[in-house]
Amino acid sequence: MTFTTVAAPSSYVGTPRRGPVTRLLEDERWLALLLLLPTVVLLGLFIAYPFVKGIMLSVTDTRVGVPGHFVGLKNFEDVWNDSIFRVAVWNTCLYTVVTTVFKLALGLWLAVLLNRNFRGKTLTRAFILLPFIIPTVLSTLAWKWMFDPTFSVINWVLFHVGIIDSRINWLGEPGLAMISVIIVNVWRGVPFYAITLLAGLQTISPELHEAAAIDGARAWQRFRHVTWPLLLPVTLVVVLFSVIQTFADFQLVYVLTGGGPANATQLFATYAYQIGIGTGLLSQGATISLAVFPVLLLVVIVQLLYIRKVETH
């Protein structure tokens, strides 16, 4: 390639004068505000607005298609005296506590196993995530077939193995129906715990374990005094997310039991949906949804304070 002309070095010209926008953006306070703006808009649209709308609905008697009038706290009083709501509160608490305990225990166990070296480790890790990756509605429909009162494959296997002589009514008996939804939730939630805790485990230096081993610590002691304290902050964050998600769970119960039999598996979200969307009593549905808020707020505050305390130490 040849050059016919060579540009002569231009004489020095001072930096062009900066415009008012550039000068404004050079101020870190304004720049920070600008950068935060998209997040603020998104949070406002999808978190703050529905929340405020929910509060406004809950103090009116709005029905679908009928603008409501202000009724103060009457809806909260009605909900408090609603026997199905009380069942839903109990069910939600039971569902959340039991599933969280099982998900944590099984997830931690799985994470410890996956943290070891073995053949096919990567493949196993990928497969473990499957229940979490499949859309909840799809996997729950599969479970619904497995629990079907007439065609349950679980019953078929148990019967042919000789464990049962009459079928188990998985979704028709109140206690069994709750156990069934808990089983499915645990099955779906364990991978999230396992993979997140595995990530936490991998940040722990092997040297700490080696040092403890040299000092004579056995496997359980190494876990108790080395692994667990270092894993605690991650665990608390995982539990926090999980509790919030489980407390507000909807899809799984809606597909599996619809809240039945006779409201035996009704949760906050399914009951709010039935009243607000199904029956069209929007204000009462909003009230039921809002009833979750103080409980979740308390959980979040307590856990965040605890996490701060753990991290400070």
Binding site: P149, G172, G276
Partner: protein, 441 residues
Amino acid sequence: MARIDRRRLLKLSGAGAAAAAAGGLAGILASGRAPAYAQQANVHWLRWSDFVPASDQLLLNQIVPECQKALGITLRIEMVNANDIQARVTSAVQSGTGPDIILALNNWPQLYIDSLADVSDVADKLGADQGGYYPISKAVATAGGKWIGVPWCIGGGLVAYRKSWFQEIGYDKFPDTWDKLQAAGKILKAKDRPIGQALSHSFGDPPGFWYPWLWSWGGKEVEADGKTVALDSKETVESVERALPFWKEACDSGGLAWDDSSNNRAFLSGSISATNNGASIYLEAKRKPDVYQTEKGAPMYQDILHAPLPKGPGGQYNLPGPFTNMLMSYSKNQAAAKQFVTWVNSKPIFEQWFTSQQGYTIGATKDWANDPIWQKDPVLLPFRNLPDEGRLMGYAGPPGRASAEAQTKYIIVDMYAKAVQGTAPEDAVKWAQGELTKIYS
């Protein structure tokens, strides 16, 4: 790209339209521009996924193109599970956008009175042309002296039962009282052929059985004034008490977790001997005689008959399910939607759909009781009389908003479900009375 100003655009589009009108395709090609026509009308119709698949196919494959040809309306039909329709109505009404017409079941139109267009002109004319509406269709589709929907058809249940299985235990006819049915069911359940009945949260089968059960023992939700809750009575308590041995001795306990399709599957697989249902079980068995067969290898449909629900001390009833097309008031296609509803309910068009149902539903107007379809298959003939033998939810009051709310909260169904699960009958009735009182107050 060359800039086209307003004047030139009008000139070009005018030339295209004129060419299309005058010279057809050759004219269009000569002008070099596509013709400019007025925008076509669209109508969006939301309805349930029918238990007779042939009817859905007919709508999509024949009625849609016919509508385009006859009315110039582009019809979009959306079919969803019936249990999801109410959620769609709520979101559509609150957002002010969605389907132009929604097919509602039972007394649901009463929940949305303020969001529905007045279709009195359409409904009155269709009723007058076709022998008048059945009272139950009119009751759910009118409010305040105006029509809030155009009745479409009436569904309902009769007991589909296995003729040979009942004959084997000495019943040449289906038992006509609850006592006899319980006795027969006890023997059949011992043979692993129980009676199958949903006692769960689903739109059709659970209320379709348990409301008539309540009425047949003399129970009722409210007095005739439609305000005074009258559920807590000795008749209702007796109905709950009698439900317990009936359920335990004769019924498939899986019914507590059934949806509206579960009993169809159970019956067709030979797991149950009888179930209250529309004609869909029989129609499906008839459609696939090689798939659904008796234990002796004969086509199952030849062993299926239909009978009314038995009677109790309070009488003998069924719960018909009127279907109503609601024209949503938020729709911007009011004129087109009315035009479509008038057209699709007209005799030549509706007849196509009605024939495809083969007796699964009854027409909302009385002329359809004389349709030749009823002479084709005597097994389906008993369905024709359902509208005259039924009561609606909210009895002895009108099937208004409160009765629809009580139904969508499954209060009557749950009263029996609670008792079956161990709540004392008196307590279950008291709970239901309390829930109804909150709704009707």
